[in-house]
């Protein structure tokens, strides 16, 4: 079947089997491999993208369901060389380690901040419950999203809370 959609601002089309998952269309046909597959069952969130402005898990959507849609993947998050605030936040606040969950986490974070410019820590934690990370314990992901939220509001982000300044005893 022929599908056509706008991905990261470009119109693309392709011939797919009806059972082809959207994530496979993005990764295999478009070779946009930033969108990851971690579980194929929508629990882990590594495949999170935006479809018509909403965060969606692309492993549980068929490519044909996105026919005519506007899709944004992690590759479309930055504006040229200008990182999106959530990308900058994750870099500044060590919001990633292995990086595998990161694209999905960034897309969920970006969607959160589009809907809520000043989320509390609880709201951030709740908003990313659908994105699993096994490396960070989420602490620095939360700090990264807080950094991005401040940046988007035009405010100075809170300083980092690493233990650098803690007075060790010995």
């Amino acid at each position: 079947m022929q599908v056509t959609m706008t991905v990261n601002g470009r119109e693309v089309s392709g011939d797919v089997e009806p059972r082809t998952l959207l994530v496979h269309f993005i990764r295999e046909n478009l070779r946009l491999t930033g969108t990851h597959v971690g579980c194929e069952t929508s629990y882990c969130g590594a495949c999170t993208i935006q479809v018509d402005g909403n965060a969606v898990k692309s492993c549980t959507m068929l490519a044909v369901q996105a026919d005519g849609a506007t899709v944004k993947t992690v590759e479309g998050l930055a504006d040229g060389d200008q990182l999106h605030a959530v990308q900058e936040g994750f870099w500044e606040r060590h919001g990633l380690q292995c990086g595998y969950c990161t694209p999905g986490m960034l897309m969920s974070a970006a969607s959160l901040l589009e809907q809520n410019a000043s989320p509390s820590e609880d709201e951030i934690r709740h908003a990313i419950e659908g994105n699993l990370c096994r490396c960070t314990g989420y602490h620095n992901i939360v700090r990264s999203i807080e950094y991005a939220a401040a940046k988007l509001r035009g405010e100075e982000p809170a300083p980092p809370d690493w233990t650098l300044d803690f007075e060790g005893v010995s």
Partner: protein, 793 residues
Amino acid sequence: MTTSVSAMGGIVRRKEDPALIAGRGQYVDDIRLNGEAVMAFVRSPFAHARINSIDTAAAESMPGVLAVYTIEDVRDLGPVLAQVPVGVLRPLLADGAVHHVGEAVAAVVAENSYVARDAADSVMVDYDPLPAVVDMKAAVTGTDRAHEGAESNVLVTWFSHDWWPGVFELEDHRPAIAEAKQRDDVVVVSQEMLNQRLIPTAIEPRAVLADWNHGYDRVKLWSSTQMPHALAGAVAKTFGLPSNEVHVVAPEVGGGFGAKLNIYPDEILTVFASKDLNRPVRWTETRRESAFSTIQGRGWVATATITGTRDGEILGYELDGIADMGAYSQNFTVAIPVLGLFVAQGQYDIPLAWQVACVQTNTQTTDAYRGAGRPEASYYIERIIDMYAAEIGMDPTEVRRKNFFKKEDFPATTAIGLTMDSGDYETNLDTLIADVDYAGLRSMQAAAREEGRYIGIGVGTYVEVCGFAPSVLAEFGFGWDAYGMPTSFSGSGLVRINPDGSATVIIGTGPSGQGHQTTWAQVVSDRLGIDFDNVRVTHGNTAESPTGVGTFGSRSAAVDGAATYEAAEKVSKKAADIVAHMLEASADDIRFADGGAHVAGSPGHKVTWAEIAEVAYKPHKGPEGFEAGLEAHAVFSPGNATWPFGSHLAVVEVDPETGNVEILRYVGVDDCGNRINPMIVDGQIHGGIAQGIGQAMFEEAIYDEDGNLLTGSLIDYPIPTAGDLPAFELGWTNTPTDVNPMGVKGIGEAGTIGSAQTIVNAVVDAVSPFGVKHIDMPLRPKRVWDAIQKARG
């Protein structure tokens, strides 16, 4: 602007991140080769069964199917190699029988993944089911065998007093402990505890891509592995190639946690298929099959016993346990409990009598999962010491303090004959206690209980062992001999100054998110005064790194980091001779800083690294008779392991009506010696704590009595989400080691080793007013509620 970054304590944004946050990082499954085919597996629905026949005809006739393989095609290659080959090694594909649910029975190769999956589903296998051995205790006492014909399911029993006969002559503490039990001023506190089986769950499933080139008789293999050099050795040995004809690349690896520290049959089978079909062949694990195709961890049941006086002096600690190895022995499988034995007595200078029986069952293999034996061992001692403290009515921190190895005891010899390099446990615990205002917390707890709230405070301490050394441990199994790579767990660092003055650093590790590119660039930038942005670090590549051991056991900084430090030192010595010639000064007076070198006391009298490099590669411009080029390689084999430690504290609240546990605070004070990049150290601790909390509260691999895994998806096997966890509060002490020149110890596993018991101690403390003394993990609400009901009667 030229900046060098401090090697010690410098915070710098990670070099790894720009690609990863842009979605441009390259994991194995992101790589596509022309003409590649895709492998899929037929997996067993039975835990234990004979295979009568495998009918591949229907699958083979499907359009797009290239081959269907069974053991008949690959038996000559032998089993999957194991570093500690005690027990039954895993055949590449089931050989006449299956021994766990999900065992691979046949492999299909097809034009794409959809066709491969369809074809795998069309392979018909006729099984005769056999009784399955699933329960660890039944494996010891029962008559069924996990492998037909085996005399026993017990593969080996490790005893603390003779774990390595002939090397250590150790005192058997059992008679003294038995005698102590007869004293009338002692209490004996004993508890059987489950340390449940876990599924490691790196978010990136494993993936492998093999490309055998018949023109050169050479194979290139991309794998999501933590040990690329060992894999190259294993492939070479299996296919009769010299290891230099096998090129393994571990590109971005999306989490490992020990689960990618194995040779796996798919790694060998894709190479075989690529050779056979003369095409690249890939395999990518699905989450569902990950529970069957990647190792699991933990899975112990043990009775811990403390014999001690009523004033807190511990006279003996005993552990009598069973550890579940699963169906086959892989990389370290039966050696994992030995790693537990290394830290069995925790931070305490106490008599030890420890025995753990390793049993085969019809379940997936267990092996190293973050901490690998050490979280299990730490859990047992830290839980039973809390129970002992409760029994004698002493504060749990006081009992710990009373039995600590003292600062002046170091280097301290453990009950099993190992030497711990350095430690200051009392200062570390004092720091935690001061940091949280422990007395204030206890007052708060008492006040809350007056209001009918059940707050619990749990403390856990741990000692960790990192960078397994000395070299002689290779003879026990801590090396890669079985993979044709006879090596101790030494480190490898190569530092090259390129002709343009940039630096390339090549290390022998296989990281999966630990930030090695950043950390090593800091070390080299600091030693050579070279611009941090001008240092490129590569790893996980056997064609680039002369040798390599990989990343595991929290070893990378303390061993490969030290090798890199030494290589940088060698480069600086040679460069000093060049600069001395250029600046007409003495080599002893040359200092490296700010992107080049200058004469001490005369910062204006300087040259840049580009200028130094030009001379190095144009020897006519250099000192008479010097060897052209500017690079050095160092292999570092430490004289001992390092022994980090820490103290953790959790504050929880339990709702007795529902059994729900809420973590109110989690505080860790860890001591990993000098810290190269505290930001990265913090991140490692955070992630480690989260995995320990995952075990304490949520995660459990559950098999039914027939050996079916009931928790094979992320909905049945819930790893912690952001909403499950609190923000973490971290502090630190610093007790450097002298076993490496940087004084660093390692931090990758510490958080996991310290946290599970801290949570359980806190929850039991919260519900102790009901008479609850112990609850087995995971502390899901129903289990906590049941424990309260049972204690209430």
